[in-house]
Symmetry: none
Subunit: 198 residues, 4 copies
DNA sequence: TATGAATGAGTTTTCATTCAT
DNA sequence: TATGAATGAAAACTCATTCAT
C-alpha cells in the first residue's frame, strides 16, 4: 500500500536504507555531482561495492533518494487548526519553513538536480503540486474564505513559492520570518474579501 | 572567421570575456560540476590552459560568471508602461519570464549553485532583492495603488518568487502562463483595494 | 584469522608492494618531483589508478617507500668480524659503501627529499642514528679499543657522515675508496693508541 | 672571459641578479622541480617573460644560481685565528655551521639537485673540495700540528662531511652543537698527539 | 548477499616556453 | 630591454563501475 511496504522487514536498519540516507545527506550538503559513491559508502560504513550491488548506477541511487521520501503532507494538515485563513496561514508558513529546514534534504536535492533530468524534474513538480494542493485544501476549510477555488489555488501557489524559494534556494529561513507577516496579511485579505484588519 | 578580427577592431572580444560567456551558457545548461573546463575551452575556441591563466580555479570562473553579469533592471522598468497595477503586473510577469528564459544563465546558475557557497548565495539574495525592489518600484508608480509600501513590497516578493521558482527550479515557464493570470488578479486586487474586476 | 591479517607487512607479492618498489627505484634515480605517478604505474605494469587506490597522494607513496624499508643493521654487524678496530672499520666502510651503492634507493631518497618535509627529515635522522649506533656498537666490541663511549660515538658519526655524503650526495663512491684508507687510519688511531689526554 | 666581467657595472641591482637571488631562495626552500618560473618572477617582482629573456631555460637559471655564487673561503680563513688545532677547529665548525645556516641556499641546492645533473654534481664536488682545502690549510697553520698532510686532509674531510650532513641533509644545525665538542676533541688529538705510524 | 581490489577514462590544474608588441 | 597573454603537453588526482571471490 504505502511506501513502507518496501522497508517492511526493518528490524535492523537495512544497509540499503543506510546507503539511501547517507546519500540523501551528502547530496543535500554537497550536490549530486560533488558526492562520490566511495564517500557515500565510507560514511555509511559499508563496503564500496555494496552501493552498486543495491543500485545499478549512481543515478538510480539519486532516484531512490528522491522517490522514496514522502512529502510531509500530514504534518501540514494537522498543524493548521485555526478557524480563520490568517491563523491557518500563520501555521502553514511556520510549519513549512520548519519542515523544510529540518528535513530539507530531499527537497534541496530535487530542486538542485532537476535541471536536465526529467525524472527529477517531474518529482520536483510533484512535490510542488502536493504542497500547493495541501495548502489550498487547508485554506478552503477556513471559516472566512469567500474566494473561489481558483483564487485559493493561486494563493497557495504564491505562499509555497515564497517559502520554498526562501528555504531551498536562498537558504534564509531565519531572516525571512518577519517578512512573512506582511505576506500573510496580503494573502489572507485577498481570500477573505476585505481590507479590514481581523 | 578571421575577417571578424579586422572588423571588430574597435571592440575586441577579449578571450577572457569569451570564456566567461561560454562558461555561463554551459553552467546554466548542465550545471557547474557537470561542465568540464576542457569543454568550456573547446566551445570557446581557446586553448585549455587559457582558462586557468585568467581564472586561478574553476570556482573563480563561476564567481566571475555570477558577479560580472548585471541584473536586468532597466528592461523590467521600461516594459511596464501601463497605468494600472494589473497591466503593469501583466507586463512584469511576461517580461520576467521571457528574460529569465532568454538570458536565464546567470540566474539559473546562481540558484542552483548557491548551496554551500557563500559568495554565490549572497549574490542570489542580491539578485532577488534587486528584482523585488524593481517590481515594487514599478507597482508603486501605478495610478490605482492604495496599499502601503510594506504591502507592495510583500506583493513584489510573492510575484518574483512565483516566477523565479517556475522558471529556474521547475523549468516550466510555458505551462505556467495560464496559471499566472489568476495570480495577477489576486495581487492586483490586494493592492488596489477592490474585488471589482477591471 | 591468520597472523597476516594483523601484521602490516604481510609477505604477499601484492601490487601494492610492486608499486612501492618501482617508486623507490624511480625516486632514487630521478628524484621525487621528477618522477610522475603515471611512469611509476607504467613501469610497475599496473593501471595508473591503482597507485592512488593504495596511496591517497603521491607524498603518501613517498612516505611508504621511505618508512617500509628497514635499515640494513644486521648486514653491517655480521660483516665486521675482525678483532681490531682498524679491521672492523675497513669492513664497515666497505660494506656501507657497497650497501648504499647496491640498495641506495631509500637512503638517497631520504636525504634528497628531507628538506621541508618533516616526516622524511625525521626518517633521515633515524637512519643516521641507527647507522651510527650500529657502527659504534661494532667498534666498541673490538679488542684494542681504549676510548670511552662518547669518543667512540663521535668516531662513528664521523665515519658514517663521510661515507653517506660521498655516496648519497656526491655520488662518488668509487673515486673515494682510496681516500678512505687515510680516514680509517685516523679514526683507528684515535680510538686505540697514543690517546694521551693533555 | 669570466662571468664576473659582465656583472661588474652593477650600480643598481640588475633585474637579472634579482631573478637569480629569488631563484636561489626558492630553490633552496622548495627544491628546483617544485619551484615554478612564474613564482620566481612573481616573488622577484618582474614580469614572467623576463626570466626567459635572461635565461634560455629553467635549467640555465639553476646553473647560474649555482655557479655565480662563490664559496665562502675567506670567512673561514679569517675567523680561525687561534694558535692550537683545537681552537681553530672550534672556530671552523662554528663558522661553517653558521655560514651554511645563513647563506645555505646554493649549498643546499647543489647537494639536492646534483643527482643526474653533471654540471651540478661537479659543482658540488668543487664546493666540497674547496671547503676541505680551506679547512686543511687552516689546520696546517696551527702551532701544535704534528700530523702529515695526508692525515690533515683526511681530518678536514671528516669535519666538513660531518657539518655538511648535519646542516644540509638533516637540517639539525642547532641540536648538533654539543655533539660537535666530542668530534673536535677526537680530531684535535689525532692531529696533535701520539701520531705513531704503525 | 557482500566485499574490496582493480580499471582507465576523465578532471582540474600546473608550467616551461613562445611570441607579438 | 621588457612585457604579459597565449599555448598545449603533462601532471596529480577522481571516480563510476566491474569483477573475482
Amino acid at each position: 500500500m504505502t511506501a513502507q511496504a518496501h522497508t517492511r522487514h526493518a528490524t535492523r536498519p537495512s544497509k540499503r536504507q543506510l546507503i539511501i540516507e547517507t546519500a540523501e545527506r551528502l547530496f543535500a550538503e554537497h550536490g549530486y555531482d560533488a558526492t562520490s559513491t566511495a564517500r557515500i559508502a565510507t560514511e555509511a560504513g559499508v563496503p564500496s561495492g555494496l552501493v552498486f550491488y543495491h543500485f545499478a548506477t549512481k543515478l538510480d541511487l539519486l532516484l531512490a533518494v528522491v522517490q522514496e521520501r514522502p512529502a510531509p503532507r500530514e504534518v501540514l494538515r494537522s498543524t493548521a487548526r485555526g478557524r480563520t485563513v490568517r491563523r491557518r496561514l500563520r501555521a502553514i508558513v511556520a510549519t513549512m519553513a520548519e519542515e523544510l529546514e529540518h528535513d530539507r534534504a530531499a527537497r534541496i536535492i530535487v530542486f538542485r538536480e532537476a535541471q536536465g533530468r526529467p525524472e527529477i524534474a517531474s518529482r520536483a513538480a510533484e512535490l510542488f503540486a502536493e504542497a500547493t494542493e495541501t495548502v489550498a485544501c487547508v485554506l478552503t476549510g477556513a471559516d472566512d474564505v469567500v474566494a473561489d477555488p481558483a483564487r485559493v489555488q493561486a494563493a497557495a501557489e504564491l505562499v509555497v513559492s515564497r517559502v520554498f524559494l526562501d528555504t531551498v534556494a536562498l537558504g534564509q529561513a531565519e531572516t525571512a520570518t518577519h517578512r512573512h507577516a506582511e505576506m500573510i496579511d496580503l494573502i489572507a485579505e485577498s481570500l477573505t474579501g476585505g481590507v479590514r484588519a481581523e
